[in-house]
Every structure is written in C-alpha cells, then in structure tokens.
C-alpha cells in the first residue's frame, strides 16, 4: 500500500457512525500516546501524564459507550496515526500539531483525526490539569476539589479582608 493511502480516504464531514462499544488495549495505546504528546508539545514538564490518565480514560469510555459513539472515529485515528508514524517518524507529532495536517478539512481520514480526536484531546488535556502549565490555578471543566479544602482550588486575591470600605 502507498504510504498514507488510508489517511487520504475521503470521508463524510460528519462523525463516523458506529454502534457503542469498547476499544481494545492495543487500540487505546496509540491514542494515549497522542494524548501524552500534547503535554510534550505544550506542557512545562511539571505534569506527569499518568496523573491525567483516569480522567482521559473516563472521557474515552463515555465517548465510545454512549451515542453518538466515537468508536469508529477512534479506530480510524489509530490507522492514521500508524501511517503518520511511517511517513514522518518522530516528526509526526509536530506535523499533527503545527504542520499541514492541522488545517486539513474533516473530509479525509486524516482530517477526521484532527477534528474529532486531536482537537478534542487538546481540550481534555487542558481540562485534566494541563492548563496549570500556563500559570492558572483553576480552569473551566477542571474538577479542582472542595472549596473547603485548606488550600483554595483557585488563586486568591492578594488583599482580602473581612470588611472593606
């Protein structure tokens, strides 16, 4: 097969249809690698991606087991990731995040990978703690912990007194 042939398959722009189901461990592995590489590209090295894994797994579980299911979309992504690896080697992540794949319309298998997987994984990476690399203490959709904890789950104003006038 010509390298990248599957990636260039023409697909409808909408989400690929599939019945709800479960990804195998082998299918999860390259998707997890993609997620971790997002942290490599934008993180500051302080966040161990393993601390995000349960959050990511719950996301994958909900997205594949309920309708509309992303099962076919993720299986398609596994194919494209494999082809990108053969084409670009370690440069594949740069190509995917910053290169020409980034702007590809979701009318090919590669475009679907960008739209339905990479872009959504970026949001999941941020909401599962990745945002901290940019200096914030909390972020929309981050489950930051009880407000009654000793340490507040967001950054506080420097000057807060009980009465103000």
């Amino acid at each position: 097969m010509h390298l990248g042939a599957r990636s260039a398959d023409v697909l409808p722009e909408r989400l690929l249809e599939s019945a709800p189901g479960e990804l195998s461990t082998a299918e999860l592995a390259p998707l997890w690698e993609l997620f971790a590489e997002i942290g490599q590209a934008w993180g500051d090295g302080s966040l161990d991606p393993r601390r995000q894994r349960s959050h990511w797994l719950e996301f994958i579980d909900v997205r594949t087991r309920t309708e509309p299911s992303y099962l076919a979309e993720y299986r398609s992504a596994v194919l494209v990731l494999d082809e990108l690896r053969q084409q670009h080697g370690p440069q594949m992540w740069h190509e995917l995040f910053f290169g020409s794949v980034r702007t590809e319309a979701p009318t090919t298998r590669r475009g679907h990978l960008r739209r339905y997987v990479v872009e959504e994984f970026i949001k999941v990476w941020l909401t599962s703690g990745g945002f901290k690399a940019f200096g914030a203490g909390n972020y929309n959709s981050y489950v930051s912990g009880s407000r009654f904890a000793v340490k507040q789950p967001y950054r506080l104003a420097a000057r807060v007194t009980s009465t103000h006038q």
């Binding site: 997002i38 590209a41 934008w42 993180g43 500051d44 719950e58 996301f59 909900v62 997205r63 309920t66 995040f97 910053f98 980034r102 872009e119 959504e120 970026i122 949001k123 999941v124 941020l126 909401t127 945002f131 690399a133 940019f134 200096g135 914030a136 203490g137 909390n138 972020y139 929309n140 959709s141 981050y142 489950v143 930051s144 912990g145 009880s146 407000r147 009654f148 507040q152 789950p153 967001y154 950054r155 506080l156 104003a157 420097a158 000057r159 807060v160 009980s162 009465t163 103000h164 006038q165």
Partner: protein
C-alpha cells in the same frame, strides 16, 4: 375534583410552592404541568459534550436564536422602539430557568419595597422587606447560598447558610480600585451547594452543585411520601376554564407529544410560569366572565414589563505579568455601594466584575497551532478587563407583553413585547457609566468600550404586578388574582418593581411565603 392543586410551570417558584404544600400535607393531590421537555441532569456524556462544544444540553429549550445579527426573532416579536432580546433569556423545560441561571442570589433592600412612596416613580409593594425577611432566610437555605454581608446591606435574622467564595486573584486589581475610591465591596452571593468543586461548567454542572429546581422536584416525585404528586412535561396550559367569574375549575391542556388536548380540574390553580407565560395564560383565558382575559378587567395583565439594563465598561492593561485569568465561572466581586436609597430616584446600580474576563482561550490557541511561547506572550501581554452593572428600571404601562401569532416549536403561543426605554434613560445611564469608568481608571487602565447592552429579558418582571387595589395590580398581597378566589400567580411577574439585583432569591422567598399561606 381530580386535583387539590394544579401548578402551571416547574421552575423554582413551582418547586418552592410544591415543597411547602407537601411539607404540610404529604398526601396533597398536586399536579405540575410543564410546557417544555425534561432535560437529563448530571449526565456525564452531556457534560463532556458541553465541555468540548460549548453547546448545552438544553439549547433546544431556549427561544430560537436571532437570525443573522438583526433583532428580528423567529419565534417572538419585539415591536417597541427599544428592541427586546429573548435569546437564552429563559429555559422552557422541567426546572425552568434555574437550569441555566448563574445562581446569583441577592436580597432586595428595604427601600425597594417602597419605590413609589420614596421616588414618585414605579409602584410600591403591598408587603415590606420585613414581611419577606423570614422567607429570604428559608430561600437562602433552600438554594444553598454562599455569601457574606460585611456592610449589612440587608437586615438579616440569619447569616448565609454557607460561607462566601473568596475573591479570586483576578479580582485583585479591581478590589484595589474599589478601595482607592472608597467603594464598599463583597463577595457575590451565589447558590452553590457544599459539594461545589469549582468545576467552572456551572451552566451544566456535573455534580449538581448549583440549585436546579428539577432536582428538588425529582426528589419530591420520587419520594414515597407523596403518592398523589405528579409532574407532567410537554403539557401546555392553553387556557383556564371558569364556572363563574370568581372561580377557576379547570385548565385546557395540550399534550405536545401526542397533540391531544384535555382538561384537568382542580380546587386551586397556581401559575408559576415566569413573566412571559404567566401573563400570556391569563390573556388567553378569555370567556364570558373575563372578556379581556382572566383577571384583566383593569387592563393591567401584561403591562409594566421591566428588566435590567446591562451596563459595561472595558479597560485594557498594557501587560499581565501575573497571568491573571478568570478561574471561576461566576463572579466573586460585587458592590451595592450605588444600590441604596440615595440613588433610587435615578435608578440604582448594582456592580460586579465580569465573570468571563480576563480569559485567553487556551484550547483555541493550541488548536490554531500557536506554540507555547506564543501563548505565554499573549498571557502576559495586553489584557482586557470589564466592570458590569445592572441598573434599576421603572415600569411604564405602555411597555407590555402581548400574545403573538402562532405557536413556537415547543407548542407555546408566541410572544410579542412592546418596549421603550424611559425618557431620560440615556442621561442617567451615562451618569452611571461615568461611575464605572472611574473604577476602570483607578485600576490604571485606559477606558475602552463602554455602554448599555441591548435589552435582554433574563430578569423580565412586573407583567402581573402585585397591589392591594385591583385598579393598581393583577394580584393581591397573597398573590391571588384580584376577583378570582382560587387562582394565584407566583413568578417575577408579580414584582411591582425590579430593584437593581437578580430576581431569583426574591421570587423563591415569595413562593415559600405563598406555599405556607396556601398550606395553612
């Protein structure tokens, strides 16, 4: 009779009245009719969909959005000189607008109940702050309000049930400006239960940590203590049926799932359908007894509609070395310094820091292929800040809600609103904006864009206002429609005036008071 009480609507007012009736008599035969559908709550898939797309699980329960950028609604009409925006201003479904509300829970103040006596404008309430104070306490407990009142802006017999959210780092620069200008401030009182994890997706909370009336109604319905309680979604009350002028015996109800129409009969009806639908149901209920609509012999039903003009002032800082971002989905800084009797005659002003600024869309930047260094530069570079405010509005009988043509997609009759801002509004709002601009300058910022946003209907009120005399209002001090012994209205519609703050806590207090009155 089939039912002892039928409540039309399922928002916070309906839930509060229902809970009081069932508290007193768990076997009370009570039916709640909701025009809209049920929306699944605390659903992980719907939450993830919201996180990723920004589309809420209840978008289909809003009035349709504006086509293009004009002010012509597809489901409603705005006919006055000031366009009225319906978009996302209410939620038509089980739980009502508490499904999408921000949870801001503020009490009105003493003087708000005496508006006409004090200013010669608007109308007085036939009840006082002190009449409502015990119910404000109950409402704060029911909604789980976190707050503080270090300046005693309200006379309180009980402290807030939960401590205030501490102000965020991004509040810091505005706090310093307030202090420099001698403006008193406090944390915004918000309805967030103890289990809040500051997830920042309050519009669809995955934990159920913000009050939604549907949670309370579901708990009531699921309880075995209430064998005679029913909640029916997708049921539009088309009109009320009378056997004599002073008594309602039934409501003709359209099931929008099946298209079937039937009547339900009850000893008592309570309309808790918001400012639009409460008035519209009365207007639709025309018969030989009430030729202009139920309770409308004085022609006041639907008149006096008000909302809150929304003022804003922006300022841009040259840099943001601390990378301050708005880290919560609700404001934690507000001021009632200009929400006092001194400002009442010109229109009170309630100030708060914008809940969405400063914020850089990190995901959008990453998806656009920006590098970490580029995003860092943007985070520490020029930053936009905004101070916002609600201004009190004075009722005008010419501002009114009427029946529109046809039905909307949920099967509810359409809405027409005729509205014009009061004479002199431009001048008074400009004065208020100058106060806000001072704050922005005190932050060391150059004043940017400022003005009054297009009028929105989120806090619409006064369409069935409360008055002792039937010549002055639609319902009496117990929210009973003048001239009809067994018909009550409980929503923002009954407010004689709207003060400068959000209405939900006040309507909840009124509903608890009404529920207690009906149960006794």
């Amino acid at each position: 009779m089939e039912w002892q009480t039928v409540i039309i609507g399922s928002g916070v007012a309906a839930a509060a009245v229902a809970s009081k009736l069932l508290d007193r008599d768990p076997g009370h035969a009570l039916l709640l009719l909701e025009a809209g559908p049920r929306v699944p709550s605390k659903d992980r898939r719907l939450w993830w969909d919201f996180v990723l797309s920004g589309r809420s699980a209840y978008d289909h329960c809003h009035d349709l959005p504006l086509p293009g950028d004009g002010n012509t609604e597809t489901e409603n009409e705005s006919t006055g000189s000031t366009p009225w925006t319906f978009r996302e201003s209410r939620m038509m479904g089980v739980g009502g607008s508490t499904y999408h509300w921000g949870g801001w829970a503020l009490r009105f103040k003493d003087e708000d109940f005496k508006l006409f006596s004090r200013t010669g404008r608007g109308a007085d309430w036939p009840i006082s702050y002190d009449d409502l104070e015990p119910y404000y306490c109950q409402a704060e407990a029911l909604l789980g309000v976190s707050g503080e009142d270090p300046h005693r802006w309200n006379r309180r017999s009980r402290e807030y049930p939960l401590p205030a959210f501490k102000q965020t780092a991004a509040d810091g620069p505005m706090i310093q400006a307030f202090e420099q200008l001698g403006i008193a401030y406090a944390s915004m009182p918000v309805a967030r239960f103890r289990k809040c994890m500051t997830t920042g997706t309050c519009k669809y909370c995955p934990l159920g940590a913000r009050f939604v009336a549907a949670y309370l109604l579901d708990a009531l319905v699921e309880s075995r203590r209430h064998p005679n309680l029913a909640l029916q979604p997708r049921r539009v009350a088309a009109e009320l049926v009378f056997d004599r002028k002073d008594r309602v015996i039934g409501a003709r109800v359209l099931n929008t799932s099946t298209g079937e129409s039937r009547s339900v009969f009850a000893e008592r009806f309570v309309i808790c359908a918001g400012s639009y639908e409460s008035a519209k149901l009365l207007l639709r209920s025309r018969n030989s007894h009430w030729q202009n609509g139920a309770g409308n012999d004085a022609g006041l039903v639907g008149r006096h509609i008000i909302s809150h003009p929304f003022l804003y002032v922006q300022g841009r800082s040259r840099d943001n070395p601390q990378r301050l971002q708005q880290e919560l989905d609700f404001p934690t800084l507000m001021s009632r310094q200009f929400d006092t009797s001194r400002e009442q005659a010109g229109g009170k002003l309630f100030l708060f820091r914008d809940r969405s600024k400063p914020r850089i869309d990190l995901a959008g930047r990453m998806i656009a292929g920006r590098s970490r260094q580029e995003i860092d530069a943007e985070l520490t570079g020029p930053t936009l800040w905004e101070l916002q405010g609600f201004m009190e509005e004075f009722a005008n009988p010419n501002n009114r809600i009427e029946l529109g043509q046809g039905l909307n997609r949920l099967g509810l009759p359409q809405t027409r609103i005729h509205f014009a801002r009061a004479e002199g509004f431009e001048q008074t709002s400009a004065e208020r904006l100058r106060v806000m601009q001072e704050v922005i300058r005190a932050m060391g910022l150059e004043v940017g864009e400022s003005g009054v946003q297009p009028q929105r209907g989120d806090h619409a009120a006064s369409t069935c206002r409360m008055a002792r005399d039937r010549q002055d209002g639609v319902v009496d001090e117990h929210l009973r429609v003048h001239g009809i012994g067994n018909l009550h209205v409980c929503s923002n519609a009954v407010f004689p005036s709207g003060a400068a703050v959000n209405p939900t806590l006040t309507v909840t207090a009124l509903a608890l008071r009404l529920g207690e009155h009906l149960a006794s």
